[in-house]
């Protein structure tokens, strides 16, 4: 299994957290907040399509609200492969960060 890219990781986590609210608008807003800059729809759907192709996420149609111009929501959910990939990613991070606290990181940068 290939390693997740940063943006894939963020997206998967966003979908997992948003649960039944995991559709385009909400995912984009969430990710924009996390990365602290505007995450465009172009990038969003390009990445979502990748995740879909790699079978990390599944999609289903959601409800039709009047403000959506006649288009149903498309809801995403993380499937087993996605969860598996997130777990691997988490373990790797854990190993990488072991013994390093945020405080230590900022201390050392001051000393330098």
């Amino acid at each position: 299994m290939k390693e997740l890219t940063k943006i894939e990781e963020i997206l998967l986590l966003a979908i997992w957290k948003l649960k039944d609210e995991a559709y385009g608008v909400k995912i984009r807003q969430y990710v924009s907040k996390v990365i602290n800059k505007d995450f465009t729809y172009g990038n969003l759907y390009s990445a979502l399509n990748q995740l879909e192709r790699k079978e990390y996420v599944a999609k289903r149609f959601g409800e039709l609200t009047p403000v959506r111009g006649g288009r149903k929501k498309v809801l995403y959910s993380v499937n087993e492969f996605g969860i598996e990939a997130l777990k691997i990613s988490f373990k790797m991070k854990e190993a990488m960060w072991e013994g390093i606290s945020e405080f230590a990181l900022s201390e050392s940068s001051i000393i330098k």
């Binding site: 505007d38 172009g42 959506r68 288009r71 149903k72 929501k73």
Partner: protein, 877 residues
């Protein structure tokens, strides 16, 4: 309601729609809309629209990039599927591609022909402002429209009309014999022209100067290939060529050969200056071709009217002298005299005047051939449509499965369109091969030098690709719509309707195809019938077994001895010397009864012959006698034909006196009447004609020799040897008269052959389609046939059943095609003064032929299906 007004910016919306493909980004537009609304509610319309724009623009690069990658993936997928389908159904694909290729090849070949015909004389610079003068006269209801005009008109045009930028006169003055050292040739394409010739026809000089080349009498300009013929690798400039052992000419210029697509080909140009007749002041003696170039912006119709006004001044005294009345009286008597200008680029297709320099073509043939090209292309495209829709049964399941696993209709349409474009691309490549293979044959047929030069133009190959995409699109869109619209639930049900049963469209197409084919069959049969009618109808003389020796005037006074020596051979029965050859254009004179006023004059063609003309050509004498030379020949004795006798209104013409209006002093006595014979094409009514005897010191350029049917080649050798005795080095030019006379029908014959060839091609393509169609239709009915057989149907019953459908189509097609064919061919036959009637048999024959061809085509499949073992066919499911 108010919220409705708060719409997202239209252009941004459009951009998104364009690049965010639905099948991949269905939710995207909805998301945009939702967030737009959110911002609208909280921060107002301006912010919302701004956000929409910014978001769109920022998203676009990624969306475009993705859709390109996606497109490539889909395209390679389409390609894979298309190749797989083509390979899987080889027979079907072959019929489809081959039919299309033949159609495209025929179409392109005809188009090459048409473009060549349309390109005549356009290569001359300023050809759009170059015109040839023609003279139209109407004298006592005898009209004449001639390409030749009189000597003084040209100079007046140049000197008195400022809108005439350049002018040249051209005269063909017979066939000179040129000598250079040991080389002797008789030349047919030599012309005398004004020194200003190259101002009008701006040809390219290889050597010499256009402004001075024809300035002096005795100079000669020749073409590159003629320079090679006489001088080989020597430099032709400054060399001396002797003409007719009389005059020396100095080569002062070498020009490029005249391209084939010109109405006027010349090898040699000599100055008119100092030659006889050039200063002839008579305005009604038409013996020159006059060409002008108009100044830019000037009107040619104005020039026509101005010219006739000026001309009247000059003609008036002359016409008074000849006819005793002035020009105004002449015109008031119902006669006409007018000048017309023909654009030089129109001459080849639109001009059919008397005394054309070379026989021209006719724009009608352009229409006929373009129509055939279109018809063949239509037949081929319909094949494609028909086969593809019929085949839909085969692919209904594929479509059903594709749809269930999520294919969009648009994707399916794209896939099928892509397939047909692929096929038409392959067909295009095949057709290029076919064109290279068959263009030489077509060139022989059409007497052309057409080439397909794919690489000479940078736009040729893109054009071909575009063309095949267009054809693929045209042929593929209907089947694609049909195929992609199948309802998966219906086609996937085991016993469900398999689609493709909508055969109405298919029937219409087959009927239409065969209607076109039947019109082509009718056309071919009518043309062949008319031509054989013309060729086998009694011409009133015998055109066979006559050998014509040409340019016999070159041996001059030795001509009588040449004749005598020929007659010494026992295989030669008769020899005659004539001023013209039957089938060529004759000179015209205006004759009246003795003492009758000019306004009763009749225009008649005339031929000068010796006493043996009737015998050599087996022309029958109706009354009186022909010329004999027991006494001295007399200029005042003439023989006329029956039509002329009728025109004069003589009950008994022998011994009657008539007069030529330009020389009334000479009384012409009619000593004989010959039976009417067709000396021109049968498209012409027999014209009134009179014969003049050859005088003692006259030598004309054609000697016709009647030989016995046995030993023709020995006779020919004898004639050649005899010629050599008298003419020395000058090669004998000869022709079998029947071959010469065929040439008057050259255009018709050419049309017949081309028409026939392409009709056959059209029918072959239609049959290919029918073959494919019958294969699918019978395969669709396999089970039905199996059941019928088990229930006791005989093989012949089943064949009749299977063929009935096709027979019905062909009969309907016949009913549609007959009136169209009748109308078309009847209007073609109007061109002939002597023509066949369109008998019902032609139509019945074409019905039988079309039915026969169709039945042979479909019967193979029907037979196979009828003979199949029912257990086999019933086991299939």
């Amino acid at each position: 309601m108010k919220k409705r007004l708060h719409k997202p910016p239209f252009i941004a919306l459009l951009l998104l729609k364009l690049f965010a493909s639905d099948e991949k980004n269905y939710a995207l537009m909805g998301d945009f809309k939702e967030e737009f609304h959110e911002i609208l509610e909280t921060r107002g319309i301006f912010r919302a629209r701004l956000w929409y724009w910014i978001q769109t623009i920022k998203s676009l690069p990624k969306l475009i990039g993705d859709s390109i990658i996606w497109g490539i993936i889909m395209l390679s997928n389409y390609l894979k599927i298309a190749l797989r389908t083509i390979r899987k159904q080889k027979g079907y694909s072959f019929i489809n591609i081959f039919g299309l290729a033949v159609g495209i090849a025929s179409c392109i070949i005809i188009m090459l022909f048409v473009f060549d015909e349309l390109s005549y004389d356009k290569f001359y610079p300023n050809s759009d402002r170059t015109y040839r003068l023609a003279v139209r006269t109407l004298l006592n209801n005898n009209s004449e429209h001639t390409a030749k005009s009189a000597a003084p008109v040209g100079p007046i045009l140049k000197n008195e009309f400022p809108e005439v930028e350049a002018m040249t006169r051209v005269r063909n003055y017979g066939f000179p014999v040129f000598y250079y050292k040991d080389k002797v040739f008789s030349e047919e394409r030599a012309f005398r022209v004004d020194s200003t010739f190259f101002d009008v026809f701006q040809v390219n000089f290889i050597k010499g100067n256009a402004n001075t080349a024809l300035n002096k009498a005795g100079s000669l300009v020749l073409t590159e290939s003629m320079a090679k013929k006489y001088f080989g690798n020597e430099d032709a400039m400054g060399k001396i060529i002797n003409s007719d052992k009389r005059t020396d000419y100095l080569v002062t210029g070498i020009i490029e050969d005249v391209p084939t697509n010109s109405h006027f080909h010349f090898d040699f140009l000599q100055p008119l200056m100092g030659s006889g007749g050039v200063d002839n002041p008579i305005w009604v003696f038409n013996d020159f071709y006059t060409y002008i170039r108009l100044r830019e912006g000037a009107s040619i119709t104005e020039l026509e009217t101005k010219l006739i006004e000026t001309a009247k001044k000059y003609i008036d005294p002359q016409i008074r002298r000849f006819m005793g009345i002035g020009i105004e009286d002449f015109l008031a008597a119902g006669n006409e005299f007018a000048y017309t200008f023909t654009p030089v680029t129109d001459i080849h297709l639109h001009s059919n005047l008397e005394f054309e320099i070379e026989p021209n073509s006719d724009y009608k043939y352009i229409f006929i051939f373009s129509t055939i090209a279109l018809a063949i292309m239509l037949i081929a495209i319909m094949n494609f449509v028909n086969l593809s829709t019929a085949r839909s049964t085969m692919r209904a399941k594929e479509v059903g499965i594709r749809k269930t696993i999520g294919s969009q209709k648009r994707q399916l349409v794209n896939q099928f369109l892509f397939e047909s474009i692929m096929m038409s691309l392959i067909a295009m490549i095949l057709s290029v091969v076919l064109i290279y293979l068959f263009l030489p044959y077509f060139n022989d047929l059409a007497l052309k030098n057409l080439e397909l030069s794919l690489f000479s133009n940078y736009f040729m190959i893109p054009l071909f690709i575009l063309l095949s995409v267009g054809i693929g699109f045209a042929a593929g869109s209907y089947p694609a719509m049909i195929l992609s619209s199948f309802n998966p639930a219906a086609v996937l049900k085991p016993s469900g309707s398999r689609g493709g049963s909508k055969s109405f469209m298919r029937s219409v197409l087959v009927v239409f195809q065969f209607s076109i084919s039947i019109v082509l069959i009718v056309g071919t049969m009518v043309i062949i019938n008319q031509l054989s009618f013309i060729q086998n109808s009694n011409l009133g003389f015998n055109k066979d077994q006559v050998i014509v020796v040409k340019k016999t005037d070159d041996i001059g006074p030795q001509l009588p001895s040449f004749k005598q020596e020929l007659l010494a051979n026992q295989d030669i029965t008769s020899v005659t010397n004539t001023s013209e050859l039957l089938g060529n254009t004759f000179n015209i004179a205006a004759l009246t009864k003795e003492g009758a006023p000019d306004d009763e004059a009749q225009l008649m063609v005339h031929l000068t012959t010796d006493s043996d003309f009737l015998e050599t050509y087996d022309v029958e004498l109706a009354d009186g006698r022909y010329f004999d030379y027991d006494g001295l020949p007399a200029l005042d004795k003439i023989v006329i034909n029956e039509t002329a006798a009728k025109k004069f209104g003589f009950d008994y013409p022998i011994g009657k006196i008539v007069e030529n209006t330009i020389n009334r002093e000479m009384k012409l006595e009619i000593i004989g009447v010959v039976k009417d014979f067709h000396f021109e094409s049968l498209s012409q009514k027999i014209k009134p004609m009179f014969f003049i005897p050859i005088m003692e010191n006259q030598y004309f350029k054609f000697v016709s020799v009647r030989v016995k049917p046995e030993n023709i080649s020995a006779s020919l050798n004898y004639i050649r040897d005899t010629w050599k005795k008298f003419a020395g080095n000058q090669a004998m030019e000869y022709e079998f008269f029947d071959e010469h006379f065929e040439k008057v029908y050259l255009a018709e014959q050419r049309t017949a052959q081309i028409f026939g060839t392409f009709s056959i091609l059209g029918i072959i393509i239609a049959c290919l389609g029918l073959l494919g169609l019958s294969t699918f239709i019978t395969s669709q009915r396999t089970k039905e046939i199996g059941i019928r057989k088990t229930l006791g149907s005989s093989i012949s019953q089943i064949i009749v059943l299977l063929n009935m459908q096709f027979v019905k189509w062909i009969i309907i097609a016949n009913l549609i095609a007959w009136p169209i064919g009748y109308w078309l061919m009847d209007s073609w036959l109007q061109n002939f003064a002597y023509r066949i009637d369109l008998s019902i048999w032609i139509f019945i024959m074409s019905a039988i032929i079309s039915l026969g061809i169709a039945l042979i085509t479909v019967s193979y499949q029907s037979l196979k299906a009828a003979n199949a073992n029912p257990t086999e066919s019933l086991r299939t499911e």
